[in-house]
Amino acid sequence: MRLAITGTGMLSSVGLNAPECFSALCRGTSGNKSIQLFAPERYNVKRAYEIMGQNVERTDQSSRATQWLSKAIFEAVQNARMVSEHTRVALLVGTGLRELRSLELWWTSAHAMRVADLHFGRAVQHHINGRLPVMTLSNACSASLFALGLAEDLLQLGEVDAVIVAGADSMTESMCGLLDRVSPLHPEGVQPFDMNRRGVLLGEGAAALVLETIESAKQRGVEPLAWLRGVGMSCDASHETAPDVIGVKRAMEDAHRRANITPEIVDLILAHGTGTHLNDETEAKAIGMLLGSRIHHVMISALKGMIGHTAGASGLMSVVTAVECLRQHCVPPMVGLDEPMAEVRGFNIVANEARRTLIKIAQIHAFGFGGVNAVAIVEKAA
C-alpha cells in the first residue's frame, strides 16, 4: 500500500524550516558548537548541536521542544494545505525525553511550569487550531519512526484519513551528564562510520509530515511530495543497550516485505550512524548482509555529523530529508567521516560533498536502546 506524504516540516541546528535545513545539509553545514544552554565547565563533553534560534541567548527557556514541534507541524500542515475541516485526522508524536528540560529548569532555576506542559497535546492543538487526538510515544531513539509505522497502520485499517506524524527532542542537562559519564573518549564531533569515531553528541530538532491515503490526497487535490512504501520494525530481544546485527537486519527485511521491494532497487540509505563504536559496526554489518554485492551501488549517507543525535526526532528528520533527496535529486554528504572504518570498505558512501543524482527509493534507519529498530522506505512521486 502506497501512502502519500503531502507536507513536511523540520527544524535543526542548521536551519529553522525544512528548505533551510535541506540546503544547509547539502552544503555540509555542521551545527556543532560549544554548549550554550548550560555551563559546560562541569562536563568533559563540551560540544553539541543546539538550536539557538534567531536570538542567540545564553539563558535557557522552558518548552523549547514543544515550540519546535508546533512549528514543524505547522509547516507540514501548511505545506500539505490541510485545513481543520479535515475531520478524521490523528496526530502521533515520537520523542525520547518529551519536556524533560522544562522540568530541569523548574527544579534548578525555578522556571514556571505546569505538569500539563510536560505533554505536547495542548500546545500542539492550540497551534494548529484543531481538536484532533494527540498520541505520544517514547521508543527511545527510534520513537518518531515507530510513530510513522503506527500512522501507516492507522491509515491501512481505515481508522483515519490522514495522520500528522511528528518527532521532537531538546537537549537536557541530565542526558548530557549521563552521556559524559558513559563516553570515555569525549568526542568533539559525531564521526559516523569513521575508524577514529569516539562516540555520540546530542543534537536538537523536530520534524513533522502529513501522511494520508491516496484517496484522501486526491480528494483534497494535493500532489504527494513522495510515497511512503512501508515501515519495518523489529525488537532485538538481545541486550539492554547493545545493538544486534540480526535484529537490525530483521527490521530492514520487514521494511522490504511491507514495501514489497527487494534490496536491488534501493538507491539510498540514510543510516542511523551515531558515531558510536557499537552502533556503526553493527549497522554496517547488517547493511552489508542485506545488500551483498549491491553494496558498491547503494549510496549511503548519515546526518548526525551535521545535526548531532536528535534522539526520538532523528528518524523522522532523516525521512523529511530523504523526501527532499527524492525531489531535488541531491544527497547530503556524510560529514565527520575522514577515514572509513574497515566494516564499510567498498561501501558507496556519499563523502565530502553532496551528490547530485536521481533517486527513486530511499531507506531510512532509526535504532533505539532496548533493541527497538525501525526502517522506513520512501519512494519518489512520479
Binding site: D153, Q156, L157, G158, R257, R258
Partner: protein, 372 residues
C-alpha cells in the same frame, strides 16, 4: 462488504469445556444442550462455597500433555497449551521452521492462574525466614506464563501477547489478533481465552456475586483457542474456512457512579452499530446472535441493546452458551464464538452472519461480526 482482501478466517478451534473436550465433543454437547454443571466433590482439595460448578474433572494436565515438562505446569497453562494443540490440528496448519516466526499466540486471561499466584504469595508469608520458596513455581505467577508456554510447546515464535480485560478478554484478544493479521504482521495466530477453576476463584466469585443477587450462572472453567489466518491465504493453502471475522469493535461507555442498565445498553447498542458499520452489514442480514447472557438485578442490557438495533429483524436466532458452560469470565467471549462455530458446522448451508456481544458492569462493551 469491506475488508474483502484482508478478511480474517477462523480455520480451526480447540476447546476444553465442561460439556466436552475437543471440537467434535463440544459440538455434540451444544446440539444436545448438555449441561456442564456437576458436583465439585474431589475436584479441589479445600472447601469451596458451593457444591456444584461447571468444571472439567476429566481434564488433567499430565494426562493430556504427558509427564515431560508438565511437572510444575498449572491448570491455566495446561488448558491453554492443550487447547492450542487442538486448534492447530483442527485447522491443519503445520508449524515449520519456515513459518514459525510468522506464527503466534494472543491469549485472553484476566489474572493468569489465581491458584499459582495465591499459593506462591502465601508461601512467601508462611515459610520460616529467610522465606525460601520454590523457584520452579515462580514462572506460573506471571500473567503471560500460559501464552509463553503455548509458544514453547508449539514452536510459535512470532507475536506473543497476553490480553487482560475481564469478561471482554476474549473479544479483545480476537480484535488484537485480527488487526495484526490484517496489517500483515503475522500469518497465523492462535487467539483465545482461558479460565481455571480453583478454590481461590470460587471464593472470589462467591463474594463478588453477592452484590448481584440475580446473577444465577454457576462458575465455569475452560479454554477456547481459535486458529486465525487471512482468508485468502487459508483458501490458497486449501484449509477449510469455518467462519470469517468481519469486524470486532470494543468500546468503553461512560457510566455514572452506579452501573446502570440504561447507560450500559445504550453503550452496547452503539458498539453493535459500529461493528455492523465496520463490517458493512445491515441489521436485516443478521442471522443469529451468540449471547453473553449475564442478566442480573441490574437488568439485561444485552437484550435491550439488541432489541434496539435488530428491531426490524424478527427471525434472529439466539445462541446461549453460558447456561451450559457457566460463567467462564476471561473465556466467555471465545466460548460464545465456539458455540457459533459448532452451530454453523452442524448445518452448513448458505452464508450466515452472526453477532457476538460482550459487556462488563465496568462499562466495557464489545461486538464481533462473524460470517460462516
Amino acid at each position: 462488504m469491506k475488508h474483502e482482501n484482508t478478511a480474517v478466517a477462523i480455520t480451526g478451534f480447540g476447546v476444553i469445556s465442561p460439556i466436552g473436550i475437543g471440537a467434535q465433543e463440544f459440538t455434540t454437547g451444544i446440539l444436545e444442550g448438555r449441561s456442564g454443571l456437576k458436583p465439585i466433590n474431589g475436584v479441589v482439595a479445600n472447601r469451596v462455597p458451593f457444591e456444584q460448578a461447571c468444571v472439567i474433572p476429566e481434564f488433567e494436565v499430565k494426562t493430556y500433555l504427558g509427564k515431560k515438562g508438565t511437572q510444575s505446569m498449572d491448570r491455566t497453562t495446561g488448558l491453554a497449551v492443550a487447547a492450542s494443540g487442538m486448534a492447530l490440528r483442527h485447522s491443519g496448519f503445520a508449524i515449520t521452521p519456515a513459518n514459525e516466526t510468522r506464527s503466534g499466540v494472543v491469549l485472553g486471561t484476566s489474572t493468569g492462574s489465581m491458584r499459582s499466584i495465591s499459593t506462591f504469595t502465601k508461601e512467601t508469608f508462611v515459610q520460616h525466614p529467610p522465606y525460601l520458596v520454590s523457584a520452579t513455581e515462580f514462572p506460573n505467577t506471571v500473567m503471560n506464563c500460559a501464552a509463553g508456554q503455548c509458544a514453547i510447546w508449539h514452536n510459535l515464535k512470532g507475536i506473543n501477547a497476553t490480553v487482560s480485560g475481564g469478561r471482554l478478554s476474549g473479544l479483545l484478544a480476537l480484535r488484537y489478533a485480527s488487526l495484526k493479521l490484517r496489517l500483515g504482521y503475522t500469518d497465523l495466530l492462535l487467539a483465545g481465552g482461558v479460565e481455571e477453576f480453583c478454590e481461590h476463584t470460587a471464593w472470589a466469585f462467591h463474594h463478588l456475586r453477592q452484590g448481584l443477587r440475580n446473577e444465577s450462572l454457576p462458575i465455569g472453567e475452560g479454554c477456547v483457542m481459535l486458529a486465525l489466518e487471512k482468508s485468502a491465504a487459508a483458501r490458497c493453502a486449501g484449509r477449510y474456512v469455518r467462519a470469517e471475522i468481519l469486524a470486532c469493535e470494543i468500546q468503553m461507555c461512560p457510566l455514572a457512579q452506579q452501573p446502570n442498565c440504561g447507560q450500559l445498553s445504550e453503550g452496547l447498542a452503539n458498539c453493535i452499530q459500529a461493528a455492523l458499520d465496520s463490517a458493512g452489514v445491515s441489521p436485516r442480514d443478521v442471522w443469529g446472535v451468540s449471547l453473553q447472557g449475564c442478566a442480573s438485578e441490574l437488568g439485561d442490557p444485552e437484550t435491550r441493546a439488541l432489541t434496539t438495533i435488530l428491531k426490524e429483524n424478527t427471525s434472529v436466532q439466539y445462541l446461549r452458551i453460558s447456561p451450559l458452560v457457566g460463567e467462564t469470565y476471561s473465556a466467555a467471549g471465545v466460548f460464545q464464538i465456539a458455540a457459533v462455530l459448532a452451530r454453523l458446522s452442524h448445518s452448513p448451508a448458505h452464508e450466515r452472519v452472526v453477532l457476538v456481544t460482550s459487556f462488563s458492569h465496568g462499562g466495557s462493551v464489545g461486538c464481533a461480526v462473524l460470517r460462516g
